[in-house]
Amino acid sequence: MIESALNRILQPGAITPVYQPIFRLNGGTPRIDGVECLSRGPRGTNFEAADVLFEYVRLKREESLVDRACIAAAFRGASTLPSSLRLGVNVHASTLGRDHGFIGFLEGTAAATGIALSRVVIEVIEHAPSWDGLSFQSTLEQLRQLGMAIALDDVGLGQSNFKMILDVRPDYLKLDRYFVDGCFADPHRRAVITALRTLARDFDAEIVAEGVETADDAATLQGLGITLMQGFHFAHPLPLDAPFWSAAAPSCHSQ
């Protein structure tokens, strides 16, 4: 019998963080506003692919353990990135609703790695809708009190629906790539984006368009009033040793 895959994933150093820049386009040159911290599982295993890693974790119902491991790896790496960058980290809603030590873990990890919590954006992802709603809301409130912003991931798909928008009251709505890809040529996609932009304004939130892969789609989104974008058109998820970071540092927002 071989070692459990979960044990391998949770080994120190098994999670490799990569960072995908999020750009702000206010006319002129795009500026890096922040990064989304993404995770890759142990090298040479099926879990190196993030989609397989997190599907497995959800099937094992160990979202909280793995969310913590990914955040710890992301914060450790991010301590070398420009301190002006916001850091988006993905957290399952079930972790926020069930892991009563999560806030303490975040504070401790941030302190140990020198990350200011005011830089952190908690990107809420959800695949299993059953969790303690009161505990979830209480955790969100505590995150805000500590200075963190809240984003709702994959807006428009699956569980990230209008109920979640009401429950989370996010600072950022991350528009799923499904609606972004091809919006240049598709009036129906543009109609959905326009509706979500209006919704975001009414919630005093900003839209982040994910999966922007072409200049045409980027220009279309800009024309629709979307200013925050991430995707291969701008930059792939990058390891810390990518030359991009030293070259990009001067163009980061100062805050």
């Binding site: 019998m1 071989i2 459990s4 895959a5 099926n46 692919a49 890693l53 599907e55 497995y56």
Partner: protein, 131 residues
């Protein structure tokens, strides 16, 4: 059976909790030119099946070593997702009831261990060629 090792487009998933069996089957089917992934536990296989498309799954009935029948769960999962994927269940402990149940759930073949690699490959290639 084709055995020239030329590249083939079909993708195979091998599921077994015994690493030696997984390694041996991987080598054999990769040698036949197939693209092969492998998984060692139920949830790992389910995660791959949720995110990737396979032409054939070769799966041991027991994945925990404590008398489970996880292979039946995998057969059910596959047939909920895709009628295109062929499934071979392998077992050293298969009773007639379990064999019947595996076919009811949609398995394409149920092989009683021990079987040689060539016997398994013969069944696999025939199933793939029938698609």
């Amino acid at each position: 059976m084709r055995s020239d090792g030329g590249a083939r487009s079909e993708r195979i998933l091998i599921v077994d909790d015994e690493e030696l069996i997984v390694v041996a089957m991987r080598r054999y089917f990769e040698g036949l030119g197939y693209t092969v992934d492998s998984a060692h536990e139920l949830e790992e296989a389910q995660a791959l099946l949720a995110k990737r498309r396979y032409d054939l799954v070769i799966c041991d009935l027991r994945l925990t070593g404590i008398g489970g029948v996880e292979g039946l769960q995998i057969v059910s999962d596959i047939h909920q997702r895709s009628s295109d994927t062929r499934v071979i269940l392998l077992s050293a402990y298969g009773t007639p009831e379990i064999e019947r149940e595996s076919y009811n759930r949609g398995a394409d073949a149920f092989l009683h261990k021990p079987k040689s690699m060539m016997e398994i490959a013969n069944v696999a290639v025939n199933l793939l060629d029938q698609r």
